[in-house]
């Protein structure tokens, strides 16, 4: 939605007395008043009323991971992330965006990913495409974080498919970023171009089912593409559903003892995915039980829940925007999320998002979890528990 269509929504939050303040992961880590959800909306409200320049507060609008925790705690379920995204789009339109956002835009145009990495074949060097039998046209959407920072997750998935004897293809160099990170930064034009390319490439390959390792990519395809006017004829499925199916059909057997206490971190994009638009009728329910169902089948582990889980899980702070624009705050948010796992005395902190995984690994040694916790992706712990 355009910023000027959200005046009422912004006002509601601007005049609410700080009820979600303490739950905002950015504010809890940064602790400056302008980052509180109410204050961001109040400043935005006043900028719309020409009492303060939008340019002056452009940085404030990026003091948000868009994790949606505020919406969960708001009794009226106000969609504050949507307000922030609209503000960012306006900031980009008026050429006021922070330098980091412009870099993402440039990288997207040049390399089709937000990280400035050369495109290349995204699943090159992993064992994904070997040892399989013919099956339906199942594709895996690798995602930028997995491709450039978390190849081990891809290796693990390769081990799972090899054990199951199934063929899963990828688009290799034809896979571009899903577009959601760009959309969240206010770069909707870039986001739509990426989406159009991906859907066209997958359709040309006659993709029947598209699997996702990354919840952000999954949410982009499932919740946003149709809102952006892009039609898909293939089924989208998150990896947990696929793996659970393999286990239930005994295509893979989890038989190696992983002895230890395990907890699961719900990624924001999976547990409380953003709404594509205010009036969206797109189904955007979270995926929270399937990963747990898998983890409870791992031999030898004692599964414990963190205090705040599922829709109220803490954010890891590892989204593209926050890592780039406020790296210190991003790291603080990550440490607080790890603290939650330390509090339940977990040996393994498992998540089903490569961005969360990357974030936790990056901040682990400066957190309370140092030398106490091993961070693993869902794919890795499943692969490790196959003899």
């Amino acid at each position: 939605m355009e910023l000027n269509e959200l005046t009422k929504e912004i006002e509601v939050c601007a005049y609410c007395p700080l009820m979600c303040k303490n739950m905002c992961c950015f504010h809890s880590a940064a602790k400056n008043e302008s980052s509180a959800p109410t204050m961001k909306n109040l400043l935005l409200d006043w900028s719309q009323k020409d009492r303060i320049e939008l340019k002056e507060i452009s940085g404030v609008m990026y003091q948000c991971t868009l994790c949606g925790q505020c919406t969960q705690w708001c009794e009226e379920k106000r969609d504050i992330p949507n307000n922030m995204i609209a503000a960012r789009a306006e900031i980009v339109n008026r050429n006021m965006a922070p330098a980091e956002v412009k870099e993402v835009e440039q990288s997207t145009v040049q390399h089709h990913n937000p990280f400035g990495k050369k495109q290349g074949k995204r699943s090159e060097g992993v064992s994904l495409d070997t040892n399989h039998e013919a099956s339906d046209n199942i594709f895996l959407f690798v995602g930028c974080t997995t491709a450039y920072y978390q190849e081990n997750i891809l290796d693990a998935f390769g081990k799972i498919t090899a054990a199951a004897g199934v063929k899963v293809q990828t688009l290799q160099e034809d896979e571009w970023c899903c577009g959601l990170p760009q959309y969240k930064l206010g770069l909707k034009k870039n986001a739509v171009e990426l989406a159009q390319h991906n859907v066209q490439a997958l359709s040309e390959q006659n993709c029947q089912t598209l699997l996702f390792i990354c919840p952000t990519c999954y949410s982009a395809f499932r919740d946003f593409y149709s809102e952006w006017g892009i039609e898909m004829k293939f089924e989208v499925k998150f990896i947990s559903e696929y793996i659970l199916d393999l286990i239930d059909k005994s295509r893979i057997v989890l038989n190696k003892d992983m002895a230890g206490t395990l907890t699961y971190h719900d990624p924001c994009a999976l547990a409380r995915p953003l709404k594509a638009t205010k009036n969206s009728d797109v189904c955007n329910e979270g995926v929270v039980e399937e990963p747990r169902d898998i983890l409870k089948k791992i031999p030898g582990v004692d599964f414990v829940e963190m205090r705040w889980n599922r829709e109220k899980s803490f954010c890891c702070g590892g989204d593209v925007a926050t890592r780039l624009t406020y790296p210190q705050v991003s790291a603080e948010i990550g440490k607080k999320a790890i603290d939650e796992a330390v509090k339940v005395e977990a040996d393994y902190l498992v998540t089903s998002c490569p961005a969360c995984n990357r974030q936790f690994i990056d901040v682990l040694d400066s957190s309370e979890g140092k030398q106490k916790i091993e961070v693993l992706s869902l794919c890795e712990i499943v692969a490790n528990s196959i003899e």
């Binding site: 005049y15 700080l18 009820m19 400056n32 302008s34 509180a36 204050m39 303060i52 002056e56 205090r307």
Partner: protein, 487 residues
Amino acid sequence: MRKANQEQVYRKIATVVGEDSIATSRYEKMSYSLNRNWYSRTLLSIKKEVPLADFVVYPKSTEQVASILKIANEAKVPVTPYSGGSSGMGGNVPVKKGIVIDLKHLNKIIEINEHSLLVTVQAGVTCWQLEDELNRRGYTSGHIQASHYSACIGGSIALRAAGRLSTGYGKIEDMVTGLEVVLPDGEVLRTRTVPRHATGPDLNQLFIGSEGALGIITEATLVINNMPEKRVFRAVLFPSLHSGLNAMRRIMQKHLRPTMGRLYDERETETLFKNTWGIDEKGAYLVFGFDGPSAVVDRTMEIALQICSEEDGKDLGSEKGDFWWNHKFSDYYPKDEKDVERWKALMGGKAAGATIDICAPYHKIEDIHNDLRKTFKEKFGNKYKVDIYGHLSHWYTSGTMTYCRWHLREVPQDEELLTIYREVWDSLIQVVIEHGAVIEHHHGVGRVLGRYIKDQYGAAGFGVLKKIKQAIDPNNIMNIGVMGLGE
């Protein structure tokens, strides 16, 4: 602050906390001035300048707070302490510019002593954060403020706050057993954590409610409680405020120790019933509750209901009581466009309104409540659209508190609005002073009511307060103007 002095102070403080722990941007400073205070938001809405600090500092330890205060004291720079920013009394608005010290980075829960049931926390721990941590271990602070999600422990202590369950668990001053306070010259004072003492005046109580005028509270030790085995709430409808008040007084004086009691006057009852349940019920509506071992709770509730019945109260059951507890924060969420307009009008200068919470003994409280309503309507009802209603809550053996909400609509949207506020406060506070009550129960006095403190304490009492201020803060840097001190 003069520019040369400001730069010098900035540089010195930067050597203590680092430049990345100081904010100077206009929008950040505005965020500190606009928080929940109607006064600064009204200024903004009528296009007047909002007072802004010269800069905001984020210390990360008591030692850093001490160093900052030492620098400010030597340079005679005004200091405004700040934590959760949920106060509506203007005590944390930097009207004298200078430095805002935001304590939110002091947010560690240092120790939970499960043997003595004590918790030691830093000032920037939010009430929610503390309660959440205690709940994980089977304890409760018993301190659940309306601003639970944003208020910090330091601010609660500095303003003598009360939680929703204060009747059972006490106000914050009943919970504090030890304090760490940084004095204006940078010296750090620590009191000993003991349940009671007879070693002179209580230094804890000197700083509890001092609103940042005497120093900065950086750490506190508080009593905690086991989570109750059973928690119950009940709703009762009385024919009048008078009969409900009698019932609650008798319950308190029989030492049944309810956790809370909220008795709405006839006007608020009517609004509440209509808005919440869509029914036309008249009378005075009471919600109250008990915590404790199951058998004790069941029996005390039985006795309390008997007392209610003797005062002609109609038992409405536990469902409506539980509803109150489960929706205790709901009033604060703007729900629809009408609600938004109400909040906007109030915070945006198109209406005037606030709350007044007055504490008095039982033999005065009903007259005060009625006189507040009568005075307000008589004085302002012929000029504006007005409404005033309220409830009695926070109960003691000898008295209680009345919490009246007043609203004026169709007010001028210019500087006259500030005059209207002043006139309303003058009228309402005069009623309170004439009845011999105190002008605040749990929000602190701040700058909104500071000018009335002298009237409440009298010349001798206020003189003592001034001498204390002068002795502890001779350079008058600490939160100038709160409680009418230091102006």
